[in-house]
Subunit: 427 residues, 2 copies
């Protein structure tokens, strides 16, 4: 990779998610050279992916070009690259576009869907961690409705109109709510020939509550909201397999569905060279100390979802969410500068600003430190916070226009099969 | 295809473009059954595809779900289907999802890129007739810049940063203008390491003027505008081949480029069963009489780009544009109803409302019947007309927000490689 060598130390960041971008921004005006590597040329605002999948938002408005975020900083370099291996002995990363030496390395590669080793589920189910994945899910949902119109086999139609979401975290809950609103608002208008009662939405949760990380009140209320929307909630049920048609569980319960969304877990997106057992915790995350340093190294760090930093409150590592990622990225910026200047580093302390999830129109749950509330006001707070954290004025405006429109018209106009998932046709 | 038979006559429309939608709307409240078939579930506003390709607009805002356009009409059926053959003897269409009998058939299948039989150009060049194609071009342009950063081979870099557009019609002119603005406004900020002078934009035109169908004044002025933007215009040059790297022409002139956009011609998208020589004119269009009837049939029609209706002003058929398509669709609605009621049909008369093209910021050319003007005011007219004809309030709002943003900030934020064209990575 031809990146000019300067007298500044070179910090290589792998990944342009919340953590990587926060760090790059912090370092951008300093006397360091920053090289950010990502396999996409854009930052993805993951919390809104489910709205892309359900036709509520266009993909381009929750993505932001990485080059633009950091365009005014002369010592910043971006390369569209897939990191294949980290050579921790020679301080190099190997990518699909060449090798790169680093003085400091920050792994911010995020997380990926965890199928817990079940390759059949992996092959047949849909994930929702990237924009292309979300668009595939959008296409599949719409293709299923189109196909349901064509079949006279009732079992087949049933499977096509059934949606099973595995995992009762925010992704699962938000997606279930959005699908329920499609069932209610869009389906009867777009497909008057289909019996909408057949469109069942199931959410399967292995534990005994939804939104596990949130308060009991939030969890209860989310359940009430989902039930109001007609979502079937199955708690204490573990999915054991899915062959593309039937979901089997650890009980007698089975589900016939053409669409299984797997939102049951994530794991760290480790990279060869830093994936040995000595570095990695449960859930494939890289163990780091309170300065985000990888065990045994002063100059190699991990931040965000990929980093497993045990704290008093979270002995198994901080939650894999945007907040800790942004805070770690921000603070690591200071710490690396301190390290370069041979000043002491400051241990990371997570400030939990709360959590929230939206279930549907006027329905959200918010847990702040002091206040926990649910309902209409929570829904406004949820929207405001998400608009605020979206990067870019244009993105905010476009998302806002869509939300107002969808709210006023009970609609979702991006129900477009731009690239079919099942039945590819010529472009 | 299980579409219920009613006592109403069944009108099958192939294609949800400007012509097909106009016709379906006209027929929607009448005592007929309308079945619209399209291989996409959305209508595409083709005049703005070049803005999707150049990162100015998101694809979803120039697409509109067909089901939504016609959702309030109980006798309207849409099926996502690819029509494979028309059986003119048995009055049936064969599609990938089954057969369908018709009482009346309207072919509105539009046009497709015409490579004039050169399969090498077809294989290596980019077309821009559909949203997926436009997104592929967007990805390719951005991937080329990313690759240009990596190579130290100057010829290679030159080819990656060179853009050759073949065809000086509105598509070619508008795309050339947009690329020139990217060169000026985006390239220096996003890729400070690249020498932007290497990004050359060439437009090659086989005839002796740009925008052939428009006035001499518009054509001249378009040329002046493009030259101001730094576009290289090559007139009276015919492209003879392209091997993926070098464009050869009928003169000594050659171009080294990794991106050839083929906007040199379109032809009718004929369908098996109606593609015999007796039905088809030059340019693969189906010959129709003044009632849009296909030769030899009372009940089979063609409208829009696919139809070749010779008139006094246009002996070789009306121009392949949105205006004639919409007018024909609209009037055929009346004529089919007349036919059913055994009333006389009214011959189609084309009302030419004018033509326009935009070249860039504050630069457009407009030919109306009485007024021809160019420049800033023309640019506002162009924008207003395009916003007006876009289907859907949400689409208009989102496009408007993007245009205002792009204008004020000299920016194009949808420069996202959502699905790479060259180097596919895992989703």
């Amino acid at each position: 990779m031809n990146i000019p060598r300067t007298s500044y130390p070179r910090i290589v960041i792998i990944g342009g998610g919340f953590a990587g971008i926060a760090l790059a921004k912090k370092l951008s005006k300093q006397e360091v050279q920053v090289v950010l590597l990502d396999k996409h040329n854009y930052h993805t605002f993951q919390p809104l992916l489910y709205q892309v999948s359900t036709g509520g938002l266009e993909p381009d408005s929750i993505a932001y070009p990485i080059r633009k975020i950091l365009k005014d900083f002369p010592n910043f370099f971006f390369r569209l690259a897939n990191v294949e291996e980290i050579d921790i002995k020679k301080n190099k990363v190997q990518t699909n576009i060449g090798k790169l030496k680093f003085d400091y390395l920050v792994v911010a590669s995020g997380s990926t869907t965890n199928y817990f080793g079940n390759s059949e589920i992996e092959r047949h189910s849909m994930a929702m961690k990237t924009i292309p994945q979300s668009l595939n899910l959008r296409s599949l949902i719409l293709e299923n409705f189109e196909e349901a119109l064509l079949t006279s086999d009732l079992n087949e139609r049933n499977a096509l109109m059934n949606f099973v979401i595995v995992g009762g975290g925010p992704t699962g809950v938000e997606l279930a709510g959005a699908l329920a609103e499609i069932k209610k608002g869009i389906l009867p208008k777009d497909y008057p020939d289909l019996d909408t009662r057949m469109a069942q939405i199931h959410i399967i949760q292995s534990g005994n509550c939804l939104l596990k990380g949130m308060s009991a009140k939030a969890s209860e209320k989310a359940e009430v909201f989902l039930e109001k929307l007609g979502v079937n909630i199955w708690k204490n049920v573990k999915v054991t397999n899915y062959d593309g048609r039937t979901v089997t569980t650890n009980s007698d319960l089975t589900f016939d569905t053409a669409t299984l969304v797997w939102a049951a877990g994530v794991k760290g997106a480790t990279i060869k060279g830093l994936d040995a057992q000595e570095f990695v915790s449960r859930g494939n995350r890289i163990l780091v100390n309170e300065f985000n340093q990888v065990k045994g190294f002063d100059h190699i760090f991990a931040i965000g979802d990929i980093a497993c930093m045990a704290t008093k409150e979270s002995p198994n590592g901080l939650p894999m969410m945007a907040q800790p990622a942004m805070q770690q990225g921000d603070q690591l910026g200071d710490n690396i500068l301190n390290l370069i200047e041979e000043k002491p580093m400051r241990p990371f302390e997570y400030t939990n600003k709360g959590a929230m999830a939206t279930i549907g129109r006027n329905k959200a749950v918010v847990d702040l430190k002091r206040f926990k509330f649910q309902g209409v006001f929570a829904w406004y707070v949820w929207m405001f916070v998400h608009l605020f954290f979206l990067i870019g004025f244009r993105n905010r405006m476009v998302v806002f226009v869509n939300w107002v429109y969808n709210y006023v018209r009970f609609d979702r106009e991006a129900r477009l099969i731009i690239r079919p998932f099942k039945n590819r046709v010529e472009d």
